[in-house]
Chain length 143, copies 2
Amino acid sequence: MAERIDTRYLETLLGYNTRRATLVIVADFMAQMQPFDLSTVEFSVLSLIRHNPGITSRQICTALNILPPNLVGLLKRIEKRELITRAPHLTDGRAIGLSLTAAGSSLIQAAEKTAASSDAHFLSKLSTSEQEVLKKLLKKIYL
Amino acid sequence: MAERIDTRYLETLLGYNTRRATLVIVADFMAQMQPFDLSTVEFSVLSLIRHNPGITSRQICTALNILPPNLVGLLKRIEKRELITRAPHLTDGRAIGLSLTAAGSSLIQAAEKTAASSDAHFLSKLSTSEQEVLKKLLKKIYL
DNA sequence: TATTGTTATACTCTATAACTATA
DNA sequence: TATAGTTATAGAGTATAACAATA
């Protein structure tokens, strides 16, 4: 039962390669985020609010490809943890602007440091120039 | 509400880039697979059986990073569609060897052709050498 | 009429514990 | 005792329809 399985065909497919890479990276990322009690999406949302204070729910959905109903519970949870605050939007009465609390700000800053070190672990498998090439080529695919 | 959202920080993260690339590739892949009524995992499983006749359930799980309980229903469905057959393993009485039926064989061969064309659509955004570099670098990350 | 945020809901994907039969 | 396949089940993640408030 220890025969070699031939996965060469699947490895020719671009989507298979990006998916396998994502799986190992995300697994490590989730483990690193455990001290912060953040999922990958929660991390992305908090980071997006940090770098775009006053951002609306709908803008987060567009940027991260999340459907609005699926963001509601997530925002509720991080608001209950007092990581974010909601304030009426200045010009649009329907919208709500999101910002970080002091606690949310220090949490996401620490989490971003940890994320960088998780990233560095995988990037260390590549040379400096390869690291830039990989990100550049991936952006060419999805942008 | 049309302000530019700054996603530059997230775009520095490797996992963010591989994940976004995977999302657009898989979305196109799923659309292309609709005529065959195959999910991405079903495609991978059938392809793996094609290139490794007699492969066991456990070997598929290891190769594709699937948990055994989650493969049971999938195998049941493609067996009911008469795409695969199960036969007692030659040397291990606990295991079951999986093989394609004639219908399964022609289905996955046609699906692999279509998969190649979906892949080509995204690879066309890169030069020939970039295509090889991208796959090579991704393998360095997850292998 | 269109959009923001929301509720309710369903469907898929993924994860864990425990069983059976074989090794 | 360990492993292959299975059952049952629980939890994420993702999807659509429909509503109130505002544009």
